[in-house]
């Protein structure tokens, strides 16, 4: 017997994984860059 698939479940799951990972990666990279540059600027002032 053939299983009935709802194709949108698979599409939404794939987009959630892809978009979620990309957004998390961009946010993490941007924030760590800002933090590191702030730390460097503070070390210059000290």
């Amino acid at each position: 017997m053939r299983e009935a698939f709802d194709p949108w479940t698979f599409v939404i799951a794939a987009y959630a994984v892809g978009v979620g990972a990309t957004v998390a990666m961009v946010a993490w990279s941007w924030l760590s860059m800002r933090r590191a540059e702030k730390r460097r600027d503070e070390s210059r002032r000290r």
Binding site: P7, W8, F10, Y15, V19, T22, M25, S29
Partner: protein
């Protein structure tokens, strides 16, 4: 390329290029994925699940491009001893590994309705999984070299060059072996994919590539800033000791 190996010049350019790449990449990717989800047609045989292509193909391309970035930077590190080469390789590893993992997961999700299985040990899937393990191994090796005080160690660079052998294996796996994965759909000058699917696909590839470039630049800036702060603190500690 040699001109950009100067950290001060690189930072001057990266300062405006990083937000530009990220902004253009996010806008282009959001538009392409929205187009793929809501405006592009469903495929005759695969139906709605074909929409996964707009995520799966760009992440596959960037998983491989990330390792090519590591290999190119490793070459520059070994041959020209560019001061930024090891930093560039380190910056490419994390986004490359993430895109490879996303490619594997989205491919697995796509495989279930298309092939009736989440996973098969065929040439393309297995060589892509090997690429993920290569990324993890490279990151562990690079971190171990750094922690033992060898920031510019040639060992991760050699691993980066040797690992590049896997890239043509991934590409030709669907030609060399009888696989579940379909043969290449886009080759030089021709495409087996129809126009209505191809346009959002190229837009997604361009958008994700810009995001990748922005993330690599941001990570290079973060690594450089960390090194500069650490060097300054070390100099101050030496100066205090001297008194």
């Amino acid at each position: 390329m040699h001109g950009f190996a100067n950290p001060a010049r690189f930072l001057r350019i990266a300062k405006w290029l990083t937000p530009l790449c990220l902004l253009v990449g996010i806008v282009l990717t959001a538009a392409a994925l929205g187009w793929g989800l809501f405006a592009a047609p469903a495929e005759r045989l695969q139906g709605e699940t074909v929409r996964i292509i707009y995520l799966h193909v760009p992440t596959a391309w960037l998983g491989m491009a990330g390792w090519m970035g590591i290999a190119a930077a490793s070459f520059a590190q070994i041959v020209w001893r560019h001061p930024l080469a090891a930093i560039a390789a380190r910056a490419c590893a994390m986004p490359g590994a993430i895109f490879t993992a996303v490619c594997l997961v989205t491919g697995s999700i796509w495989g279930r309705p298309a092939w009736g299985t989440w996973w098969v040990w065929d040439g393309r899937l297995t060589s892509m999984l090997v690429l993920l393990f290569l990324y993890l191994g490279w990151m562990a090796l690079e971190q171990a070299s750094r922690e033992s005080g060898r920031e510019q160690s040639a060992v991760p660079a050699i691993f980066g060059l040797l690992g590049a052998v896997n890239i043509p294996i991934i590409h030709y796996s669907v030609i060399w072996w009888q696989t579940q994965h379909q043969p290449p759909s886009i080759t030089m000058g021709q495409s087996a994919i129809a126009g209505p699917f191809l346009v959002p696909l190229f837009a997604a590839m361009a958008g994700f590539s810009m995001i990748f470039a922005g993330v690599v630049l941001a990570r290079m800036r973060a690594i450089l800033a960390d090194q500069q702060a650490e060097a300054r603190l070390r100099r101050k500690a030496f100066a205090v000791d001297a008194f």
